[in-house]
């Protein structure tokens, strides 16, 4: 009760940031087959997990607020949203997809960073920043499966990506994650399995920027 009074008096507000997976103009439904234009084929997605970290808020281009200990695992099967308490007016939100290199070299962590979350490689140190798995008839693999575990924190295989989006203090922040550009035919055919830091992982991560936008 007292806490609530204090937070109101400082003008802090709790914002929900949520992520909605889309393929073009359609919501993606887990494990259901949908036509993907850039793949020229149907695709069905079974796993979608990614880290959202280092959340910043900006007002007129100036950083006004930064979340501390800012690591959130978005997992289709568990949760696709989280809350941030912001004290200031803002007109832009910034975040990274993935885990920064300092965290990658500093040992074991708990919470969303716990290695039991399935986002840490075992045979080589480092977090998987973005994981997507599914099937498509164009993948010439067993069961037509593709698995992209995109990560890597060391130059030249760095895959963390910063995203900045215009938004408003008035509404909760709803981010559309449109996978259209990511699901390219050439990647699905030539590299259906990306499981370690590599050129291909860097290429896929470079597409993230085009995937995130604020819901209209």
């Amino acid at each position: 009760m007292i806490l609530q009074v204090i937070s109101v008096s400082l003008g802090a507000q709790v914002k929900t940031i949520s992520f909605l997976p889309y393929l073009e103009n359609e919501r993606i439904i887990k494990d259901s087959s949908q036509y993907a234009e850039n793949a020229h084929e149907n695709i069905s997605i079974s796993t979608l997990k990614f880290y959202v970290s280092k959340i910043y808020f900006y007002k007129s281009g100036k950083k006004v607020f930064e979340e501390t200990n800012s690591f959130h695992l978005m997992d289709w099967d568990e949760k696709m949203s989280f809350h941030v308490s912001v004290k200031n007016e803002f007109d832009e939100v910034g975040f990274s997809i993935g885990i920064d290199s300092a965290t990658n070299v500093s040992g074991a962590f708990g919470g969303d960073l716990d290695p039991t979350k399935g986002m840490y490689w075992t045979w080589q140190s480092g977090y998987i920043n973005f994981k997507i798995e599914g099937t498509s008839p164009i993948c010439k693999t067993r069961n037509h499966a593709f698995q992209w575990h995109i990560g890597g924190y060391k130059y030249p295989n760095t895959t963390i990506q910063e995203i900045k989006l215009r938004c408003t203090t008035k509404k909760d922040i709803v981010v559309v994650v449109d996978l259209k550009e990511l699901l390219e035919q050439s990647s699905l055919v030539e590299h259906p399995e990306v499981m370690s830091p590599s050129k291909q992982a860097v290429h896929l991560s470079s597409i993230f920027k085009t995937c995130f936008s604020i819901a209209p």
Partner: protein, 338 residues
């Protein structure tokens, strides 16, 4: 005023008690460099070290319940493995590499022969998940530990939380391994002025300084770097070392420089355990270095040692054995828990 003094005194007592606990678990002589492990992020306590030790010796960590960390890292071999040149895991599978000795890990910043692992805390994920080592996965392991009769209370004692997490499991294993400090060899006694080298050991020491110290740098007897020491490629394994991780040609045939402490207990030698005897190692350095673009510059002109020199060098290397480390009961199987 009195009250402030009391609080200060109390804080002081707490702080010294804490320091004493860490000191009793982890101690290094003043000629050792500063450890690279950040103890502030995972401060040693008796309870966490004990939990880590129980885990280290527990075959429950493997999928078939038969292989523990100690199966491949035995305390009597300075935590290396001597029966096999390549590691021997679940269902009798043979791995690709020789299990290295484990000690003075607090000074190490890259792990594995190829540096695949960047921090001691996360190292254990590799053997736990390796299909030819323990074949487990960390989630399933956490469930097994949670439903065992032994672990929830041990985790509670260590972390004030009986809900087991991957983080706490890994930090406990790291804590035990951090206490594996080897610094009671004859060499250490000589450094501390408590003993002296024989004439032969002294000659060997001089030869060592001239020929080996650039890579096997005292007092840890490794420079913590990766080098190519001119071993020929074993074509049945095709192990190119650090290149596996970086995919860079300059890292081909480049391996972690191992410490030369405790060689008496850690044979066979090299990443694939190809040499059983130190004599063979020295013959490699004097006769068999393979030319390669990545060969370290210290070895480009070869190493020249007479047979007397070799005997002297081996006499010196034997002063690096630390029997009090190898037979330290605090590092052995904790029978009272099994």
């Amino acid at each position: 005023m009195m009250k402030h003094l009391l609080i200060l005194l109390f804080a002081f007592v707490l702080l010294t008690a804490f320091n004493n606990e860490v000191q009793s678990l982890f101690h290094a002589p003043n000629y050792f460099p500063k450890p690279s492990y950040d103890f502030k992020k995972n401060p040693l306590t008796k309870e966490k070290v004990l939990l880590g030790r129980v885990l280290f010796f527990d075959p429950l960590l493997s999928i078939d319940g038969k292989v523990s960390c100690a199966s491949c890292h035995s305390p009597y071999n300075a935590f290396a493995h001597t029966d096999h040149s390549l590691s021997h895991g679940i269902f009798d599978s043979i791995g690709n590499r020789n299990a290295p000795a484990l000690f003075n890990l607090a000074w190490q910043h890259d792990f594995m022969w190829d540096g695949a692992i960047n921090h001691l805390d996360v190292q254990a994920l590799a053997p736990i998940s390796h299909p030819k080592e323990m074949g487990e996965n960390i989630n399933h392991l956490v469930e097994k530990l949670q439903s065992s009769s032994r672990y929830p209370s041990l985790f509670f004692k260590a972390f004030k939380d009986s809900a087991i997490t991957g983080e706490n499991l890994l930090k406990a294993l790291a804590q035990f391994q951090l206490t594996l400090v080897s610094n009671h060899s004859k060499y250490d006694e000589v450094r501390q002025g408590k003993n002296s080298f024989s004439e032969q050991e002294n000659k060997g020491y001089q030869l060592f300084l001239q020929n080996c110290n650039a890579c096997h740098t005292e007092p840890l007897f490794t420079n913590e770097q990766f080098e190519c020491n001119g071993l020929s490629v074993d074509t049945t394994l095709n192990d190119f070392g650090k290149n596996r991780i970086t995919h860079l040609s300059v890292d081909s045939l480049v391996f972690k420089v191992p410490s030369l402490r405790n060689l008496r207990y850690t044979f066979p030698y090299m990443h694939d355990g190809r040499f059983k005897k130190l004599g063979q190692v020295l013959n490699h350095y004097t006769n068999n270095i393979q030319p390669h673009p990545n060969l370290s510059k210290e070895l480009k002109n070869g190493i020249h040692l007479s047979s007397d020199d070799k005997a002297d060098l081996i006499a010196f290397l034997m002063t690096l054995n630390d029997s009090s480390f190898v037979f330290n009961t605090h590092h052995q199987f904790p029978k009272e828990f099994f």
